[in-house]
């Protein structure tokens, strides 16, 4: 599905180059469920953002579904990720001013999908996550676990091939966290490729492969 070859990312502080990512080689196949682990500041989130095309890198090659991402312009990249990638965040990042329904609907709006079609898709998703009863509530009216459920639903609404999750259970209690991880496993079984960043060994165990990062490099 995607392949990173010799990816470097750095910034300058004074005359020194500080590396965020150092010579990353990674290839991910369709249907994998990968957990990225490592101490704080080891570059987990940066790696995830690079894979998600939200962030750029300074050197190396990135191939995503036969496209050479490093050669694409920003606009083309955004078209690519809009279509194939869904994001889940630790802090959920729901839009406070929108209802559950509208939050889930938003990505579809940006993909210019017609209103009637959107309605059907959102209804399906609400159904699948069993949150139909909450569709008119605002994020502030939900528990953390419910909010993250909405976050996942929103990430999946546009049928992405790849789900990127940055510590999806970091703000949840253990029971809520377990539910989300079970959900991820189900999704993975349905064919969604998942890459998650996590601190927890237990959550990492849900994945099919674990990648350990230290100081921007993959540990072997």
């Amino acid at each position: 599905m995607l392949e990173l070859k010799g990816i470097f990312k750095w910034y300058h502080s004074g005359n020194n180059r500080t590396f965020l990512l150092k010579n990353i080689d990674l290839s991910v196949k369709v249907g994998e469920f990968i957990s990225v682990m490592g101490p704080s500041g080891s570059g987990k989130s940066t790696l995830l953002n690079v894979i998600g095309m939200l962030d750029t890198f300074d050197q190396g090659e990135y191939h995503f579904l036969n496209e050479s991402v490093h050669k694409l312009k920003e606009k083309q990249r955004s078209i690519l990720y809009k279509q194939y990638i869904g994001f889940v965040f630790q802090a959920y990042h729901l839009l406070d001013e929108l209802t559950v329904y509208e939050n889930i609907e938003t990505p579809l709006i940006y993909q210019d999908i017609k209103s009637s079609e959107r309605q059907a898709m959102v209804a399906d998703m609400l159904d699948r996550f069993r949150i139909v009863g909450k569709k008119d509530l605002f994020p502030a009216q939900l528990s953390g676990g419910q909010q993250q459920l909405v976050g996942v639903a929103r990430a999946l609404i546009a049928n992405p091939k790849l789900l990127l999750a940055d510590e999806p259970t970091g703000n949840l209690n253990s029971k809520q966290g377990e539910e989300i991880m079970e959900l991820f496993k189900e999704l993975n079984n349905d064919g969604v490729t998942i890459i998650q960043v996590t601190h927890s060994e237990k959550n990492a165990a849900y994945g099919s492969r674990i990648i350990n990062l230290l100081d921007g490099s993959i540990e072997h």
């Binding site: 953002n49 939200l54 001013e97 709006i109 940006y110």
Partner: protein
């Protein structure tokens, strides 16, 4: 998509009520001021455009060049109109308008009324509407009279006006007229205003045969012409020398006598030509007001921008999420701009309501009768205004916020990215600069006004009542004398004097003559009695006053002012005569005094007892007000109402059949400065509004600043900071900002006000303390606004703020 944006916008507005109210209120006030000022400016620039033929109507004006002197007149000779029609095929028709005031008599009541004598095609050329009567048979004969609804009500009450007979004094005769039509109120935006019209065929009663047929150098009335379709004023002007040759015959000198045509629509705002029958307006006032309107609106827009910068941290998060969800930048730009336009639209609705409410007080201040209707023009104006405001006000979120990098925003790494401190400060600074300029303007204009109204004019205007006899000199003088004698018995009266013009008829008589060296000169003249100098408290600096016992004084003595002495370069003026054909000799010199408004320089002046011989020997005579004996009565200090009724009793005893018409001199003099009073009050209100709106923004911003620094304040308080030091901490930034704003405002306002003051011959100097005062006022108001929030933060319990972190 629109629905999504719309609901997020509405919910955002509802959730942040303080923010919303500040924004909408500020913008509404800004838009409402703009609406009112737009109405005023539109009115100023739409004069005379209501005539359907306004594009083809011109007013003739005269430009004479003679021996190096130039004379420009918008009043024209009587034979000019007919000559234009008969000499130039381009001139389709003409209409002359002669304006004067005369005595009107109806069923025993007598009033002095302004009156216009016009050619009979008046209603065909101009589009004045009739309330009653047939527009095609208005002037059926010499004695037809057209009267306004207002005047018809005054004379006939609710009775049918058409067919009523009224007597008018024309020349020395009382002539009976019959009302044939009643007109609707003349539009305010008309350079021709009238209450009564009589046909021009009565000219023989008012003008001499010479003036009517050959008076090419005497100007009396306005001449309007209608040009043929497709012809311009220039086409006719180019051929004017032919007419001048015909008139002058052998005496023709090229370029000496020029008739020009001015489009009727340009009359009102053209200050380069002297005013005709009505005062013209300085277009500068329209521009000044327009600028004030734009400034207020700009201040409100800046509020919007600074407030949206203040809440950009929260909005930035939304931008990050939306971008991750696939939003493109242009979609975010349209969302933010859409939101701004939505707020502007809501403000528009509020503003339209405000404009309707405040139209009446605004009309009172601006001395207009403006109407605010939802016409196509107004609606288009308002919608383009809203779009413009939305675009300006939404520019910050639309351009800056939408460019944020989602990774940084979502990671809360935005502190560095929002380095907008300078931009925001510059905007607040700009608001206060504008406000301080307006405060300085308020003070200086007020000072100049105060100066105009209280300057020592060289005579004593207090406690003086002017009574008009409303009779020509021959009849009026004996009446005035009788009244004056009667007043001797009135204990309330300190003294009285008679003059042909009083100080309420500024300008007096302008006489022009050619002196011994063939140089054309002018001076002003008034006819007074022996008591005038003493009663008006003029200061005699040389020679003596008139004496009733000296027949030579009555016939050919004169008292002149210092300006006249200086004009003729006399070192010993007593006994001198004007170097022309006049017989009057100087017996006294008075210190210069202001017999015209302070816009004008004091002109050379001659005071005489009998003006006839002087007028007869002058080449040109011009006066604005009707000459008639007027009695200037100086009262004791006391109860005015009682004094007036005692004067009325005295008047009735000498003129039982004539109404008692009086004016307070100080009031009439203050009327000369109406325009300035109007400007002063508009600027005063504008500066109040602008500082109010600016403070609203400041209030909102300081609230946000306080919220952002809650933790800092909490820590400082735990470390032992007292309330005072916290307030100072929070106010410090704003104080510097306002001081800076004041420094920018000073030179701008100094320049603008000096420019305005140039209009006055007699004016104040702009003093340095005004700037300090204006700066201090702005600073004080801003401090109060900020400290309101700062104190609230400073007295809050620090434990609370630290716990929530």
């Amino acid at each position: 998509m629109i629905k999504n944006y719309f609901s997020i916008a509405i919910r955002y507005l509802l959730r942040h009520k303080g923010y919303t109210i500040t924004n909408i209120l500020g913008l509404s006030i800004g838009i409402a001021s703009c609406i009112l000022i737009m109405l005023f400016v539109k009115s100023e620039f739409s004069y005379d455009k209501f005539h359907t033929k306004s594009e083809r109507i011109y007013r003739a004006w005269l430009h004479e060049k003679y021996e190096g002197q130039e004379f420009i007149n918008t009043q024209t000779p009587i034979p000019l109109g007919p000559a234009l029609v008969s000499n130039f095929p381009e001139v389709e028709s003409m209409c002359r308008v002669y304006t004067f005031s005369t005595l009107v008599q109806y069923k025993g009541s007598k009033f002095n009324e302004p009156l216009n004598m016009v050619d009979s095609n008046f209603f065909q050329l101009f589009d004045f509407k009739l309330a009653e009567g047939d527009i095609h048979s208005v002037f059926t004969n010499n004695h037809s009279l057209v009267i306004s609804q207002e005047l018809a009500k005054k004379y006939f009450g609710n009775d049918q006006a058409i067919g009523k007979n009224i007597e008018l004094q024309l020349g020395d005769e009382m002539v009976l007229f019959t009302v044939t039509a009643v007109t609707e109120k003349t539009p305010l935006e008309s350079s021709i205003q009238f209450d009564m019209l009589i046909p021009h065929s009565n000219e023989n009663l008012l003008f001499s045969e010479r003036a009517r047929s050959r008076g090419w150098t005497s100007v009396f009335e306005e001449t309007y012409v209608l040009l043929q379709n497709g012809k311009s004023g220039k086409d006719v002007e180019d051929k004017m020398p032919d007419l001048a040759k015909k008139i002058a015959g052998d005496n023709y000198v090229e370029g000496q006598y020029n008739v020009n045509l001015q489009p009727i629509t340009e009359i009102h705002l053209d200050k380069s030509l002297p005013a005709g029958n009505l005062p013209v307006s300085d277009p500068a006032y329209g521009y000044i007001l327009g600028i004030i309107g734009i400034l207020i609106l700009l201040i409100a827009c800046i509020n919007f921008v600074t407030l949206s910068i203040g809440r950009s941290t929260t909005r930035a998060m939304e931008v990050g999420i939306r971008k991750v969800l696939g939003a493109e930048r242009k979609q975010l730009i349209s969302q933010f701009w859409g939101e701004a336009i939505l707020i502007a639209l809501i403000s528009l609705v509020v503003a339209v309501g405000m404009a309707f409410i405040f139209l009446k007080p605004f009309n009172a201040i601006s001395n207009r009768e403006l109407v605010f209707s939802l016409s196509v023009f107004n609606i288009l104006f308002l919608f383009s205004l809203v779009i413009l405001i939305g675009l300006i006000a939404g520019i910050y979120p639309a351009i800056v916020l939408s460019a944020y990098n989602p990774v940084k925003v979502l990671k809360n790494r935005l502190q560095g990215a929002i380095s907008i401190g300078f931009f925001r400060k510059a905007l607040i600074g700009a608001q206060f600069t504008a406000s301080i300029i307006m405060i300085i303007g308020t003070i200086v204009i007020g000072q100049q006004l105060n100066y105009l109204q209280n300057k020592n004019l060289g005579f004593d205007k207090e406690h003086v009542v002017v009574v008009s006899t409303n009779k020509p000199r021959a009849d009026g003088t004996p009446l005035a004398e009788k009244f004056k004698t009667e007043l001797l018995k009135n204990a309330q009266v300190l003294g009285s004097s008679i003059s042909i013009f009083s100080f309420s008829e500024p300008g007096w008589v302008n006489l022009g003559y050619e002196d011994d060296n063939k140089i054309y000169r002018n001076f002003r003249m008034n006819s007074i009695d022996a008591d005038f100098v003493g009663n008006m408290k003029l200061q005699l600096i040389k020679g003596r006053n008139f004496s009733v016992d000296n027949p030579a004084d009555i016939a050919n003595s004169m008292i002149v002012n210092e300006s006249l002495v200086k004009e003729y370069g006399w070192t010993d003026p007593i006994g001198k005569k004007l170097p022309g054909r006049f017989d009057h000799t100087v017996i006294g010199v008075v210190k210069d005094f202001h017999f015209e408004s302070l816009h004008n320089k004091i002109q050379p002046l001659a005071l005489v007892m009998m003006p006839d011989s002087m007028i007869r020997k002058a080449n040109d005579v011009a006066f604005v007000f009707s000459p008639q004996p007027r009695i200037n009565i100086r009262l004791k200090e006391g109860n005015l109402r009682k004094q007036i009724s005692s004067l009325e009793k005295d008047w009735k005893s000498v003129a039982p059949n004539q109404d008692f018409e009086y004016k307070f001199l100080d009031e009439s003099l203050n009327n000369q400065y109406k325009e300035e009073v109007r400007l002063a009050s508009i600027v005063r209100y504008a500066s109040l509004l602008s500082i109010f709106i600016a403070c609203m923004g400041l209030f909102g911003l300081s609230a946000m600043a306080v919220r952002r620094r809650t933790k800092e304040i909490g820590i400082r308080k735990v470390l032992g900071a007292d309330i005072k030091s916290v307030v100072i901490l929070l106010s410090k930034d704003f104080i510097w900002l306002i001081i800076l704003a004041a420094l920018v405002a000073f030179p701008i306002s100094l320049w603008a006000l000096n420019k305005w003051l140039q209009d006055f011959v007699y004016r104040i100097q702009v003093e340095w303390w005004v700037f300090i005062a204006a700066g201090a006022i702005a600073l004080l108001i801003a401090l109060i606004t900020v400290s309101f929030q700062a104190i609230k933060a400073a007295i809050a319990n620090p434990v609370k703020s630290l716990r929530t972190e």
